[in-house]
């Protein structure tokens, strides 16, 4: 029953945190009233999905992650219509906390800073994004030979396989503004304004100094109060890593991987909006560096193939970095 109490505590904390952010962040400090329409396919979905819910080895941790994304969006219906540049900076408090040997919960609490540059002028929105909470059930397929491995150094020597199932929610803690402008990139929002259901499946494999993880995530999205429903989303990520250097206090673990997303069409008033579905495939390269119980990670991703919003939105490279304390 300890577990139940933990959940209660975490839930209560999140509620308090979200109320605080809603009151004190939001748009209060904005120079301009928020005029962002549609939604950003892209900006809203920084929590989880192809960005991942945790580090490479799915450790238990608490940490901070920073992500940077950039998009070019065509503003108009013609090939030579002018383009705007959207940059999305996100700072996230994220954690994965064990409840028992097989059960854990993870959360991502993002604060988003968005900037849009169009024809020489800048617009900014910022605020708490959409919090995501996941419950995980893990099945170690092979017995781990090193019991109670608690630090990043203790990678078991024999092969390990772990299969994890996750169920969770993305909460509408970020503001969604459905003001009518002609924005092509509807993802330019701090939140989607909707409760979304998340189902995830992830697999981790490790042998000697090699490791591999694969995850798939499905987002079932619901309509927000503006009768606006972002398209359901399927995300995947596959990474392979190698412990290049491993001592008692230091770890260097480069990795390479791919990740991607498929988006269904956005619906408003139950009608599919044209040119709002799409897909993107990223190639990623990065490394994790461990110091005792701290681990930092750096990832650089570049789109390999993309077709977003009928080709009207062009995703550029993205970058993420995190600093986690493992336990």
């Amino acid at each position: 029953m300890n577990a139940l109490q933990n959940i209660k505590k975490i839930g209560l904390t999140l509620l308090i945190v979200s109320i605080f952010f809603r009151t004190h962040y939001g748009y209060a400090h904005n120079e301009y009233p928020p005029r962002f329409y549609f939604c950003d396919l892209c900006g809203c979905t920084t929590s989880g999905g192809s960005f991942g819910f945790g580090d490479l080895t799915a450790s238990n941790f608490i940490g901070i992650r920073y992500t940077y994304q950039k998009y070019h969006s065509r503003n108009g219906i013609f090939a030579n219509s002018p383009k705007s540049i959207e940059t999305i900076n996100t700072v996230q408090l994220w954690a994965r906390v064990p409840l028992s040997k097989k059960l854990s919960v993870s959360t991502i609490i993002p604060v988003n800073y968005l900037q849009r540059t169009f024809e020489g002028s800048d617009e900014n929105i910022q605020g708490l994004g959409d919090i995501n909470i996941m419950g995980w059930y893990s099945i170690p397929l092979f017995k781990n030979t090193v019991k109670d491995s608690i630090s990043v150094r203790d990678i078991p020597l024999s092969a390990t396989h772990t299969l994890s199932f996750g169920l969770g929610l993305k909460l509408p803690t970020g503001s969604f503004e459905e003001t009518l402008t002609d924005r092509v990139n509807p993802g330019f929002q701090v939140g989607t304004g909707s409760v979304d259901y998340i189902a995830a499946l992830s697999y981790n494999f490790g042998k000697n100094n090699f490791g591999f993880n694969a995850s798939t995530t499905y987002y079932l999205k619901t309509s927000n109060k503006n009768d606006y429903r972002f398209g359901n989303q399927f995300s995947y990520a596959v990474n392979g890593f190698y412990n290049l250097l491993r001592t008692n206090t230091f770890l260097l673990r480069p990795f390479i991987g791919i990740s991607g997303d498929f988006f269904d069409s956005i619906e408003q008033y139950n009608q599919k909006q044209p040119d709002t579905n799409g897909s993107i495939l990223h190639g990623a390269i990065g490394t994790e560096i461990g110091f005792d119980k701290f681990i930092t990670g750096f990832t650089y991703s570049n789109p390999i193939q993309q077709d977003l919003f009928g080709g009207n939105v062009d995703a550029k490279s993205r970058f993420s970095a995190y600093l986690n304390f493992n336990f």
């Binding site: 029953m1 577990a3 139940l4 959940i7 329409y37 503003n75 108009g76 219906i77 013609f78 090939a79 030579n80 219509s81 002018p82 409840l99 028992s100 059960l103 024809e119 419950g135 169920l167 929610l169 459905e178 003001t179 009518l180 002609d182 909707s194 409760v195 259901y197 619901t222 309509s223 109060k225 009768d227 408003q268 008033y269 009608q271 599919k272 909006q273 044209p274 040119d275």
Partner: protein
């Protein structure tokens, strides 16, 4: 452990039920709202820009300094087949590229439109005989507006439905005058045409909500439509000819499409 799973499931259920949107049918009787028609002129997949050289099918090129046309008799058909017609005395407009905003869009806002979910829009290009036969006094303010905008020859000849002014270049001619001033000529030629465009998603007109219908107009279709015309072959000066004006009028029926609809 069981209790925890149960709690988790219960939490999910509560969230699902709490967030179900209310889909009760709304009563729209007597409600009105505004709808904006946003005309966006282009040439093929390019946004139209004054004084830019565009190439036609037979390697003739053209560039325009004036681009205007008349729209009238706008009607909207809703999802139940009801037709809303904008009041006749206000239902005539000049779409002038020179009035466009930074993005090259020209707004025509219809006010006090019946609240409904509209699925198609119909409008006329030019002025129909019924409106013309109301006489000069029956035209209201629009007569003087059209006159100021250069969209009227004389009352006897009637309105110019289009004003595409610029220059063209062909194999033998360089930068010669191009003036496409198509219209009905009194009552002797009727070049008024109507088009009905389906809306890709419903335009939901509601009180205090903004609804926009983004109409893409492909100017290249005026010259390369159902009939491809040659400027050097009698089509550089189109005014009152019974031969050339109907060709332009018919071509213009295929230049419009609704690209998308915005609902607030």
């Amino acid at each position: 452990m069981k209790l925890m799973k149960f709690a988790f499931a219960a939490a999910l259920c509560i969230l699902f039920t709490a967030c179900t949107s209310d889909d009760s049918t709304e009563n729209l009787d007597g409600l009105i709202g505004d709808i904006s028609l946003k005309f966006d002129n282009g040439v093929g997949d390019q946004d139209f820009i004054f004084e830019t050289t565009y190439t036609k099918s037979n390697n003739e090129t053209y560039k325009l300094s004036t681009l205007k046309y008349l729209i009238s008799n706008v009607r909207l058909t809703d999802d139940e087949g009801n037709i809303f017609e904008y009041p006749s005395d206000k239902n005539v407009f000049i779409v002038d590229e020179a009035d466009s905003n930074n993005a090259g869009e020209i707004y025509i806002t219809l006010e006090d439109v019946d609240a409904a979910n509209y699925t198609s829009i119909t409008f006329g290009i030019g002025i129909d005989q019924e409106r013309y036969l109301k006489g000069a006094d029956g035209q209201g303010d629009f007569l003087s507006i059209a006159q100021e905008e250069g969209m009227l020859w004389s009352w006897a000849t009637g309105y110019r439905f289009t004003r595409f002014d610029g220059v063209y270049t062909s194999g033998t001619e360089i930068e010669q005058g191009l003036n496409i001033h198509m219209g009905s000529v009194g009552t002797s030629i009727d070049n008024y045409r109507e088009v009905t465009l389906p809306l890709p998603t419903e335009a939901r007109v509601r009180p205090d909500k903004i609804t926009e219908v983004h109409i893409k107009a492909d100017i290249s279709k005026v010259f390369d439509g159902v009939t491809s015309i040659n400027f050097s072959d009698g089509y550089s000066q189109v005014h009152t000819s019974a031969e050339t004006t109907p060709v332009i009028a018919d071509n213009m029926m295929h230049m419009f499409m609704v690209h998308h609809v915005h609902n607030e």
